[in-house]
Amino acid sequence: MRANRVLLLLVLAGLAATPSLAFLTVAANRLVSGVSVGFAALPRGEGAAILLPAALLILASVLPRRRATHLLVVIAAAAFLLLLVRLAGVEAARLAAAAPPAVRISLGAGFWVLLLLAALALGDAIRRLELPRWAGAMVGAAVVAGFLMLLLSGALDALGIVHEYAARRDVFAAAVLRHALMVALALLPTLLIGLPLGILARRRPAVAAWLFPLLNIVQTIPSIALFGLLLAPLSALARLFPALAALGIGGIGLLPAVIALFLYALLPVVRDSADGLAGVSPAALEAGRGLGMTPRQLLWRVELPLALPVLLAGLRVATLQAIGLAAVAALIGAGGLGAIMFQGLFADALDLVLLGVVPIVLMALAVNALFDLAIAYADRVPR
């Protein structure tokens, strides 16, 4: 029986990365570049614990593909992930204790690469076990919970990214909420307007003929340009009606961002609504009409339920896109995690950049996983 070649590749990549990439970087202060700390310097004492799951993963990569092997990989990879993060925290604390307080210890490329490889190995093993989707999601959630516990226990406090967080707790919380709010505020009208537009485009080809080219043009406009283009009319509006400015409606800020996000989200939702409805079995539609369903009954009882998986796929694309674009909106003063990210970018502080980026990525991954579950549930009966 052949071995798991995916795991083998991941393990080999990991073995190649370990000696050549930095685990941590230590900088004397925020402004200067760091010195790499490789894996060779570790692990001692508690750090040695990570060698066990590492060895198990290496072993599993040459074992034949059996359920037992996959299960082993799941456990070993999950343990490896958690121990890796813990090791980073512990080592950082050790280095920080021996250095002046201004020192900045950041997670190095090696850390991120090993994190990614281990996560991919975990995902691969879960897939091979052919667990139901919710079970796989639970494993992922358990690992994330483990990370959170490590974070909350203070084990990671010596890391630069945690320092940056500690220095601006409130700002961070506000930024996360802002970011989520931007996305939610844009998606609600997208759904309420985009879905009916999709239905309309399907029913009337004349509408589809101008609607889709228009939405395509919007998509090709780079986000920055659209933000910029919205500035002028909104500023003019604020000048004409000062009351609006008092409400916060002006050229910069939340409103142009939400409008732009809404406009971008329209295309995937409208297009996938139309496509989803087009994919509904014509025989079922004819039968429904013939049995005496009114057009509205047909829409709600037959068409929408059958089109739901494709609809959700469109909504997923729109949401992920919005999460990413909301980061750019920081450039026009909309706030959100992008603001933290740009601040770090312009101050050349990687840890600050990561403080903005990591939550965005986690948000996107969580949304992706939720939609995956929702789509799988909606699609449980073959059409």
Binding site: A225, G324, A327, V357
Partner: protein
Amino acid sequence: MSAWPLRYWRDPLLWTGLALVALVLLMPSTKPFFAALFPKLPRPMFDLDSFADLLIGHMLVVAASSVAATALGVGAGVFVSRRAGAEFRAVVGSIVTIGQTFPPVAVLAVAVPVVGFGFEPAFFALLLYGILPILENTIAGLASVPAPLCDAARGIGMGEASILRRVELPLAAPLIVGGIRTSVVINVGTATIASTVGARTLGLPIIIGLDGANLAYILQGGVLLGLLAIVLDLAFARLLAAVQVRRG
């Protein structure tokens, strides 16, 4: 000139292309127009860099990353569509999806400390973001080739490499080109943001304009960007038509 049939002169691609080039070269001379439109602005014309250089810089980074993304995307797509690579499909999909959840700005921001400012981070960000549509469409395109066709080709003695080159890829071409088109269009937009990390693109006037509330700059950059996007879209529509094979 008389040798060219009339229809060439009616070609929208030709006209928008010419308009783009003309506008890029002649933009500085429209200064009075912008001055009149925005009397309150002290500097109504962007002059920190020549529009021609910005356009070339923009097209360069998009072209370079698109070529690389195509090579990687099509290569990976072909690999995971083969029997030998099938088990890698899920993990390749995961990697690209994770890359997709990173907003392009984030990739830019993270790439800068690693590769510095300018062209390089922009290239990597566009590359990462541009692979997914190409990969997805390559997989879908190859999957859409009817299996009986490949069986027949095998039956007449064609080797696997031949089948790929002469049967599968031509039939998958429309979808693959469609994916490249999507990727390029997205990248034109993302390259705009790359100006925040020092890349020379048409995004520069827009970003500086946003920073200083200079609507004239924003319009100048925006119009050129719009024309570029239209030109590329038309060019791809042409390419797509050329690779459409009648599937009978």
